[in-house]
Amino acid sequence: MSLVVDNAESGYDRAPILSGVSLRVEPGELVAVVGSNGAGKTTLVKTIVGQLALRAGDLADDDGSFAKLSSHRRAKRGVVMVPEGRKLFPRLTVGENIALGRRAAGKRAGGEDPVDALLDAFPIVRERWGQQANLLSGGEQQMVALTRAVAARPRYLLLDEPSLGLSPLKTLDVFRLIELIRERTGAGILLVEQMADQALAAADRAYVLEHGRIVMEGDAAKLRSSDEVRRAYLGVS
């Protein structure tokens, strides 16, 4: 019962970026992946959701390997990503964006809808319901993107740089929302962040990625105070 990345290797056309990456996310757990720019963090999440081809190794969730499935089938299994830069559908309304998230939920829908809890906690999303997504501010867009992902009833939720381009205060909001999502959905969350300090403060466990390899892993609080981490995300060695 966990999301497992086993010895994964992948990359873009000509440049291999990840090599031999293994990690695991338990349900209900918040796991951070930190590392400097270009370490392969985005490549990692894109590989897990199937936007980049896995060249070697395996990917599995509670129902077994999904390495050979196409991207939309992985989403339907409950492996859901919030991509870097939010990627809302710009000319759909907030409500329509969230409705699309619900599509991926399929059979997993039912029971208490965690979306309601999110909307209650962050009413701004509800206020913007009928607005076109590209008219929202960056912080609001990130709220909608997270809500959309929750509407898909994720079993495992992958967040790629949710704080990117946000002001510090908005970043705090986003981290509060992530905490709430963890509480309400019970999903395992893989949080990829350049803002390592906050990510490590929020996470239970963490991995440090450097040059496409996992160089450290362990308790987030311990990693947060270690010199190695500073080296990894500041790119100093």
Binding site: S36, Q198, R230, L234
Partner: protein
């Protein structure tokens, strides 16, 4: 325009001494190859018309076949410049073919022009229509471009079909209007050029037809292999890349479209001269598609591809093979469910796309190249590249002074601002870079660093502020002007010509790519040979400088990532810039490669180049940078030496993701931790990175 036009040959002249002998060798071997090709092309042209030398009746059909092949070849060679090199799929070549054919006949017969003038007039008309079409379709790519060219061809077809002046379905010329169904043969300088029609008459027109075809092939080869040709490939790869190489994309696209159109028209002129009569239904969409197929089937983007393709397609269409194939289907499969000529051509097209996307010549070339370079490619994976920059060369180069460093700063940005809709990507930024200085720009993701690089290189026009380079105002200049003024760049993901060799990639970087005039590319005067040789010697030097001297003939796509980056730097240097903007040059590099990159950048600085390096790799930054600018949220966060900036509390906080309020003070986070407050502009020199700013 206030840009400084620099002498493109300067880079070559810098090292006139040691390369002189090499250059002589290069000139001689290039000359030998070109003469050999020209002689072979002309010889083949003459040999194919030898059967008709006595005008025997039996040779007429052969001569007509040769004429059809020649006309198709010329049209296909023209189209190849568009489809193959510039990657613009035109469906209009048949239209130009028709304008050439009908135009030359109409001007001579109805307007009474001298036939030679009529031909020139028709070609000029093709050129004008081509120029108008090109300008109309300038902002279009992909399907819209194809549609507008198709519309043009259909328009021409309809005019021929329905315009009374062209006799409609009676053809041109016709009895009712002209009292004859054939055009007069041309008499020029006392010679009459008879078409292959009547037994016993020597088809003299075949001589100019095949000779002109051979010349077109020779000249198109010259063009394809010249910097002018390289600029077409650059546009095909990415217009943005092309303009960074100093190519005026608008003008070059119009020029290549006009050239292709004129060649299409020339094909039509040949058809008129060879067959003396025109029927509108032979100039339909099928003709246009056949020309496209000739290019794709033979091998688009290769010199000989359109020739082989045109000859093969015409032969296929006029031989009995397709007829037999459809007869065979009727015998064995069904009386009614079978494909005849046009259907079989369609199937051939689909098969080509599936099985042989590079066409006959392209596929054969790839096979041969794979044989030849398997060893080289293996080497490319091994030693060399950035991690093994030749010490000796770096040493050597440090003595070559790029330019007397003039006092004052080379590049100055004043109060730069860039707004995208509601997003202020860069705001109020000042920056200045001196010759012989490395200026690093750092900052967390989304801080506006790449926007800054794009503002300097002219990709974006600034919303406010000014760019001054070497005393000239470059604000709002297009990338090609910026490039010509002496600013080169590399990209976050290397933008290379993946199918071209390593050397050809470097050669495309020379200023010649944007400047060689078409006539010089086609005719190849002696100066062109000398300059080619100079560029070759210089490219060898640049390849050695970045550690790629062992793999000049390997295809760029076969290089490992780190070497692709090295190659891109070599190409940037080829343009003889004074300033190079490098956008994350260390991204994706291995540690050894990054260190080699650092050596290289420092040696460039020592030669007097100014470098702006957008980078995340603090290691590299602290090692090489003279000045560091840290950006956050589009604004300047800190500036100073690497030591100062990297120990600045706000910089650390920005990178670590510790929130700060607008005064630069740390904000309370929900776990109760705070960062040490630091005032604006304050730099704390003492704390090292490992203990700076961590509260726990």
């Amino acid at each position: 325009m206030s840009t400084v036009e620099k002498d493109p040959t300067r880079a070559g002249r810098r090292r006139a001494g040691p390369g002189a002998a090499d250059r002589g060798t290069h000139v001689r071997s290039a000359l030998r190859r070109d003469v050999l090709f020209a002689v072979a092309a002309l010889a083949i042209a003459i040999i194919v018309i030898l059967p008709g030398r006595n005008g025997e009746g039996t040779s007429i059909s052969t001569m007509q076949l040769v004429a059809s092949m020649a006309a198709m070849t010329v049209a296909a060679v023209g189209l190849n410049l568009l489809v193959g090199y510039t990657k613009l799929v035109s469906l209009g070549q048949g239209g130009f073919y028709a304008i050439g054919a009908y135009g030359s006949a109409y001007l001579a017969l109805d307007k009474g022009w001298h036939p030679v003038l009529a031909i020139l007039g028709a070609l000029a008309l093709c050129g004008i229509v081509g120029a108008v079409t090109a300008m109309a379709s300038m902002r279009l790519r992909g399907p819209q471009f194809s549609v507008i060219t198709l519309v043009m061809a259909v328009l021409v077809e309809r005019i021929l079909n329905e315009g009374n002046a062209f006799g409609r379905l009676a053809g041109y010329p016709n009895f009712a209007q002209h009292g004859t169904t054939v055009t007069e043969p041309i008499t020029f300088l006392g010679t009459t050029f008879t078409p292959p029609m009547i037994a016993g008459e020597v088809a003299t027109v075949m001589v100019p037809i095949v000779v002109i075809t051979a010349l077109v092939v020779i000249l198109s080869r010259n063009i394809a292999r010249s910097p002018w040709g390289a600029s077409l490939s650059a546009i095909g790869e990415s217009e943005m890349l092309a303009s960074h190489l100093g190519v005026h994309v608008f003008r070059r696209k119009v020029a290549v479209f006009v050239l292709a159109s004129v060649l299409g028209g020339l094909g039509g002129v040949m058809a008129t001269q060879a067959f003396s009569h025109l029927q509108p239904e032979t100039f339909d969409i099928f003709l246009t598609i056949t020309i496209v197929l000739a290019v794709v089937f033979g091998g688009s983007g290769t010199v000989l591809g359109p020739v082989v393709g045109a000859v093969a397609i015409v032969w296929l269409e006029q031989s009995d093979i397709l007829v037999e194939a459809s007869q065979w289907q009727q015998d064995t499969i069904s009386e009614s469910w079978f494909l005849s000529t046009s259907g079989l051509v369609g199937v051939l097209f689909l098969l080509t796309l599936f099985l042989m996307p590079r066409g006959i010549v392209g596929t054969a070339g790839a096979v041969v190249a794979a044989r030849l370079h398997r060893r080289d490619a293996a080497e490319a994976d091994g030693a060399g590249g950035l991690d093994e920059t030749s010490e000796e060369l770096v040493e050597d180069l440090t003595h070559v002074v790029h330019e007397k460093p003039a006092p004052g700063s080379l590049l100055t940005l004043t109060d730069m601002g860039k707004r995208f809709g509601g997003l202020q990507a860069v705001a109020g930024l000042d920056l200045s870079v001196d010759r012989g200085q490395i200026h690093a720009v750092i900052g967390p993701n989304g801080a506006g660093k790449s926007t800054l690089a794009n503002l300097v290189t002219g990709v974006y026009k600034p919303s406010s502020g000014q760019v001054t380079f070497a005393g000239n105002d470059l604000t709002g200049q297009a990338p090609h002007s910026v490039s010509r003024a002496g600013i080169a760049r590399t990209f976050q993901t290397p933008q290379l010509f993946h199918d071209a060799t390593v050397r050809d990639n470097v050669l495309a970087g020379f200023a010649d790519t944007g400047r060689t005039p078409l006539w010089a590319a086609a005719l190849k005067p002696p100066s062109r040979y000398r300059r080619d040789a100079e560029m070759r010697v210089e490219s060898d030097r640049l390849l050695a400088l970045v550690g790629l001297e062992d793999v000049p003939d390997v295809r760029a796509s076969e290089l490992p990532y780190g070497k692709q980056r090295a190659l891109e730097i070599a190409r940037a240097l080829a343009g003889g810039p004074e300033l190079i903007v490098l956008d994350e040059p260390a991204a994706g590099l291995l540690a050894t490669e990054t260190s080699g990159l650092g050596d290289l950048l420092m040696s460039l600085r020592d030669q007097g180049y100014a470098l702006v390096v957008v980078e995340h790799h603090m290691d590299l930054v602290s090692r090489i940078a003279d000045q560091v600018t840290c950006m956050d949220q589009g604004r300047l966060l800190a500036r100073g030496t690497p030591q100062e900036v990297l120990s600045d509390e706000r910089v650390i906080a920005a990178y670590l993701g510790k929130p700060l309020d607008e005064h630069g003070h740390a904000v309370e986070t929900d776990d109760g931790t705070t960062t040490t407050p630091a005032g604006p502009g304050s730099t704390s020199p003492s704390p090292s990175l490992s203990n700076g700013g961590d509260p726990s």
